[in-house]
């Protein structure tokens, strides 16, 4: 099947540091991918380049065959690439419902119905009219997660979805991710919790010092000498 996302020789430098240094990867539709690597290995920078927050110095990124590496974030979003952030970025002085409402391009009534449905899906319908800033950390994380789903994106990038979320909430979140996959969506997630990565992802990419160190099924990755070395040292 034709890849939904292709990253081809991506390079992103900050001053003299190449945060992403020649990374290539391809995602096939309808699968869950993991992106792992030690701190500072370039995971979030790669996310930022895919979503247009940062722009590549070299290389290409294509979404469904269309180059997106020069586009602004809002354009990329409307092509069908949604993301969440490592640090929560809800709009604190908007209500949970409004956080979702601002996202769509559909009519108001339709958007409202969809927002209510999505909030109900993560059991937040009761808190729809509460300011997002007043919700707990986990609840804000859920608001951010369903906010991405408002426009039904085909590719969803999740930056550390499991961090700071309790077990029950986490299981719900992981189920939601699997359901998305079953609907044919593609998911790429950055995660430090190896249990989550190994249990959820079908293919894992390992980054180290901005370069792709390995790629493969979770079991294979776990046994890879180079990966172990990158994480724990020699």
């Amino acid at each position: 099947m034709a890849p939904i996302l292709e990253v081809d020789g991506a390079v992103k430098r900050f001053g003299g540091v190449a945060a992403v240094n020649g990374v290539s990867l391809a995602l096939e539709p309808g699968r869950i991918y993991g992106l792992i690597g030690p701190n500072g290995s370039g995971k979030t920078t790669l996310f930022n380049c895919i979503t247009g927050v940062d722009h590549l110095d070299e290389g290409r990124i294509r979404f469904k065959g269309v180059p997106i590496d020069r586009l602004k974030p809002h354009r990329i979003f409307h092509l069908g690439v949604g993301r969440t952030f490592q640090v929560i970025r809800v709009f604190p002085e908007l209500t949970a419902l409004e956080n979702l409402l601002v996202v769509t391009t559909t009519g108001y009534a339709e958007a409202r119905a969809r927002a209510r449905e999505l909030l109900a899906r993560v059991k937040l319908d009761r808190l729809a009219d509460e300011f997002a800033g007043n919700l707990s950390y986990g609840q804000q994380k859920l608001v951010e997660f369903v906010r991405v789903l408002m426009t039904d994106p085909e590719l969803i990038l999740l930056d550390e979805p499991a961090a700071g979320v309790n077990r029950t909430l986490l299981n719900e979140l992981l189920d939601a991710v699997r359901r998305l996959r079953d609907q044919g969506k593609t998911v790429l997630l950055v995660e430090h919790d190896m249990k989550v990565v190994m249990g959820l992802c079908e293919t894992v990419f390992v980054l180290d010092h901005g370069e792709k160190l390995a790629e493969g099924a979770p079991g294979v990755i776990q046994a890879d000498e180079r990966v172990i070395e990158a994480y724990f040292g020699r």
Partner: protein, 306 residues
Amino acid sequence: MKRWVPVGLLLLAVALSLYPLEATGYGVRVMLQLFMWIALAQSWNLISGLTGYVSFGHVVFFGTGAYASSLLIVKAGLPWPLACLGGGVAGALLALVIGWPCLRLRGPYFAIAMLGLNEVMRVIVSYYEGLTGGGNGLSLPTLDASLAIYYAMGLVAAGVTAVTYAILTSRFGLRLMTIREDEVAAEAMGIDTLRYKLYALMLSAIGPGIVGGLSARDQGYIEPISVFPLIMTITMIVMALFGGKGTIWGPVLGATVLFFFQEAVWARFVYLHQLLFGAIIVAVVLLMPRGILGVLQQKYNLPRTI
């Protein structure tokens, strides 16, 4: 509670339209100026209260409107109401031209760029003597239209407030607020932030543009230093902050309270009033950065449409 708000507003409107029948000329002029300040503070609220982009040179739209309208009256012979609307258009055009590059700047840099713009416009107006009369100023033909200008100012103040209400209760308004809340997230959620900021700045420039024209017509004479004063920007900011930025009635309340306060103090203590005004700024920033309505809003969990 909800039902008597429109009724109360209607009664207020009737009372204010009948007011000139009973009032002295001085009274009418005071109210006319109050309307002007409400329109200015509310306009500043539209860009800065909603998107969080602090415009530190908002008076530039007032001055540009004043000069544009005066030129339309003096050079083109337009009737003054039309010329004043032209002032609004001039304000919006300037906002478009300057917003396109400057709204890419974030935080304090935008504030400083706007401050600089105001200085630049004042110099430009002073420099092109042939057209604007330069430092000698520009005199408008004599005309007594205080009463008509009173009503026009009132309409602009009400109009800008109505627009604020319409925006605050729409998704357009919510999207403007996402820029204030977290611009990176807003962009990532598909909001074309530059375009939204540009719309907001243009909308916020129309009111000051018209009001500038009306004020010029009312005064009958304008000069660069009288229509581009920094103190006017500061005053409208303080009024909006004092009442509560990002709300509908905050700027109206702030403008009303501070304007009457200034009038009362100014008449008695010509020099002291600036000192008191400065003290108010410090007190507001330190004690209630969210303003009167902002504090009430948080305490009693009131909607932002207050």
